[in-house]
Structures are given as structure tokens and as C-alpha cells.
């Protein structure tokens, strides 16, 4: 399956892009996607523990099982206000 991934804030600087598309085996989790992204963009590794991950517009945990075509977003801690 193919998953579209968006980066926000300085994650765009760490990866050098705002968006990418990943291919994963069916039934893969968000955690597996994150590992795959860290291999592709090693600068994401240092932020691994504080990375926030959303599927669509909701936060999800690493054990969330992805579905084909879902949109994932990765970003650092938020800082509004």
C-alpha cells in the first residue's frame, strides 16, 4: 500500500521536503512507517521520541494499523499561542 506523508515545522528542514510517499506491506503500523522514514531521512532519528504523528486530522499511536491511501503527518511538539 501507499501512504502519503506530510512534514510540518522544522521537520521540513530535517527531511528537505514537505511531502513524500512511502510503500509499505499491508497491515503495517504507524511505528513501522516511522522507522522507514527515519532510515530515509536520518535527521528525524534525534527527534524520534518527541515526534507527534497524525493520521488525517487525529493523533494516533505507533501501534495504529495503516490503510492504503491514508494521509500521515509528522511534526515536532506544537507551540501555538
Amino acid at each position: 500500500m501507499r501512504i502519503s506523508v506530510q512534514f510540518y515545522s522544522y521537520f521540513k528542514d530535517l527531511t528537505g521536503c514537505a511531502e513524500t510517499t512511502e510503500s509499505l506491506a499491508d497491515g503495517s503500523t504507524l511505528g513501522a512507517l516511522h522507522e522507514q522514514l527515519i532510515k530515509k531521512f536520518p535527521k528525524l532519528a534525534a527527534m524520534k521520541k518527541s515526534t507527534l504523528i497524525a493520521v488525517g486530522v487525529d493523533y494516533q499511536t505507533r501501534d495504529y494499523v495503516l490503510n492504503d491511501g491514508e494521509q500521515v503527518s509528522l511534526f515536532p511538539p506544537v507551540q501555538g499561542g
Binding site: S9, V78, Q79
Partner: protein, 129 residues
Amino acid sequence: MNRSLTITREPLDEAALLSRRTLSVGMGAVVHFLGIVRDREDGKKISAIEYEAFEQMVTHQFNLLFDEMEKRWPIESIRLVHRVGIVKVNEPSLWVEVVAPHRGEAFAACQWLIDEMKRVVPIWKKPVV
């Protein structure tokens, strides 16, 4: 509960916001909060902050927070405006208004919303030197 959420690139117009306030006769407390861009970030002088938002998710996450507020407190109205893009030092980036019967719940709800916003609403700051 009346809800109004605005994510905007335009400067905040406090007077216009006040003129649109509605307040039923049972309400005894209005709390406003303004977040202002300060001239220093991590000890360094800055001229502005650039706010970036994941807008669809911002709207959704604010609505989840408003749902929770409605469960916790007898609030009549919540209005929130957050600027995105470049906001200069000394200008407000955030305006919040909570209307409730009593001051305790109005203060509690307003502070809770700002704390939660800073935890879950996907908006980020980038200092501009």
C-alpha cells in the same frame, strides 16, 4: 455553547470582536486572554514570529477541545482567534474569550483551553530576526 474559531493572516481587531459579543442575562463573567509576541525568544532579540499551522487539523483539534469544555463547564460562549503567518513583536497572535455564569468556571475554562492548545493544536512558531 456558542463557538467561534478563526485562523487568520489578518491582524486581530479587538474592538470588532467585542462588538460581536453576545451575552444572555444569566451570564456573570467574561474572561479575555491575549497572547502577544514578545521581543525575545530563547534570550535572543527578534522582530516577529512566523506561525505555521496544519489548518484542517487545527480546526478539528480545537473542536475536540471545545467539546470537552462544554462537558466540563457551563460555558455559554467560546470565541478564539489565532493568527498565522508573520506576527510582529508587540502584536497579539491569540485572542480568547470565554463567557460563563460565574468567574471561577470562566477563568478555569480559559486557562485549560490555552494549556491544551499548546499540547495538541498543530501550530508552530519560527522566530524572525
